[in-house]
């Protein structure tokens, strides 16, 4: 009788320990959402390289440069264009990065590929890091007429063409591998 009771007690304790361990294990290995989305390559895309033109039939893009915002030339251009964009209700955006981050600025020539106005938003741009993380656009500036069309009204009129400077906040250790314009199909510029 005592032996039976002992076995029962040991079994209950063992089950309890197993349940607690399983619960703790599940707690530890619970997958938390990642801070940044993971880039998934589309089934079809329009590949391109810097300094070359690529089009999805709506817009033509040419990536001229991707530089760190701490670069004095980039900072000067950003400040100058911000003064113009401000007249079209685009706030000033300081270039100081948040702790642990850096700011990259992509200079992209954007052209309307059609003979009619096309919708456009700079928030469709994102940078893909070498680890496959996607970093979506933060802010953009361009000259006065471009700001009125592309930023304020999110539309590119017929024959529109302008340089656009798009800012991305990325981890300080991240390297930009690709710049993607999320249209259908997407335009993928290989920065490597």
């Amino acid at each position: 009788m005592n032996r039976k009771r002992t076995i029962t007690t040991v079994a209950i304790v063992a089950i309890a320990i197993a349940l607690i361990a399983a619960g703790f294990g599940a707690f530890v290995v619970t997958v938390r959402p990642s801070e940044d989305p993971t880039y998934t390559e589309a089934a079809s895309s329009i590949p391109a390289a810097p300094y070359t033109y690529a089009t999805n039939g709506q817009v033509v893009l040419r990536v001229n440069n991707v530089s760190d915002a701490s670069d004095p030339v980039t900072a000067a251009v950003w400040a100058n264009l911000s003064l113009q964009a401000f007249q079209e209700y685009v706030d000033y955006r300081a270039l100081a990065p948040s702790p642990g981050e850096k700011n990259l600025v992509a200079n992209i020539t954007v052209t309307n590929a059609r003979s009619a106005a096309v919708p456009f938003t700079y928030t469709d741009f994102f940078i893909v890091g070498r680890d496959g993380s996607a970093y979506y656009a933060n802010f953009a500036v361009c000259n006065l007429s471009c700001s009125a069309a592309a930023l304020k009204h999110q539309t590119l009129p017929e024959s529109f063409t302008s340089d656009l400077y798009v800012l991305f906040s990325v981890p300080a250790t991240a390297d930009a591998a690709k710049l993607v314009y999320a249209s259908s199909p997407p335009i993928v510029i290989d920065l490597a």
């Binding site: 619970t30 959402p33 706030d91 000033y92 955006r93 948040s98």
Partner: protein
Amino acid sequence: MPTDDHRFGRYFTISIACLVVLALLFPAFDVLSLAGFVNDKTYVLILQDNSEIRPTGGLIGCIGLLTVHDGNVKDLHLAYAYNNSAWTGDVVNMSLPESLTQLYDVDSVRLYDSNVQYDFSSFAPTMLSNVEQITGQKVDGVIAVDFTAVEAIMRITGPISVSGEVITSRNIVDIAHYYSGKSDAGDTAPLINLLSSLALKIVQIAHDASLPVKLDLINAVQQMGAEKHLFFYVPGDPLTADFAGASATPPTDFISVIDMNMGSQKADFGVYRSIDYHVQLLANGSAVANLTIAYNNTCFWDYNLFQTVLVPPDAEIMNATTTAQDFNGPLSTGGANFTAFSTSVTVPANETDTITYLYTLPHVVSSSGVNERYDLYVQKQAGINQYTFNPEVQLPDGARLLASQNAEANQTSTGDIHLEMVYR
């Protein structure tokens, strides 16, 4: 047959047990009540843009009414604050800080500009009553969050798609600023849709999250509350009292720097603050303090600042200087528990300027047995992400330091600092 003593003992034990159970149940009941399980609760919801710093944390970007029912959002109506034709633009009469009224000659403000009190707990009751008066709706409390709190929460929830856009902890501030620019141009719908949808999705994600993620979110909320990026004011509620944003004015030495960005746009994420404090303690328990606050403006535009520093109530200013070319002040005003020194300055683009106050403090040292004790509380302003604190405490002649805490140079902090020194 139990004796009277036994009966009394039993009743006493039962009474104590009941009190313990009630004490344990009260917080749970309070949480359920706050979440609308007893009756629907309606809160004023404020988004404070801490890239444009204001005394309670930041420019009020959006104001809304949030109603919760059984732990769920029943209703959320957000409005772009800077819409003069909406109720958020109504002029409200309120008691303004003397420093502001004297230096800027103002006696009334619009609702969206009314967070000019020295701390959130002074502002929230006025905000609550003003909203009740303007909207005619009964309000149970005030919740305020800034962008740093939203970023901290989104680092846990991960990316959220709203209106076809991918919003992350890294781009939420800039996307909101982009749409607030469009709101200034007259189209408020994109901003309101973005923020309303984002708020509802965050609540839904928190609701559906696994237990570890829920705990991460609770930790983030607690940390943001402690660092004054998130406030929750409910009149008379003890559970939320720690989140109500009251600035302590202890009966020792303290420094509370309160900045107000005066129309310098979204500059404050590019302005770095440091506080240098040299205090010379004298043998009679008084002190001479030299406080310098530096502003390193890394923005490409000028930074216009109205600064107020709260120090102990009996402080007397001896001198004030600034390296800024363009300034107004200093002005010394009083309060029940503090003295306020105020100055407005313009810090040019890519430059650093300082403001220095030299003042006396009659009583800042207390006796602790045979030892002397000096305490200093540095109170971080709501909305500021971090600052550098560089203290230098000079003991009276012949005194020997026995113990100290938080007295090292060049501390970087995201919260309040309590410096203590014991000497003989």
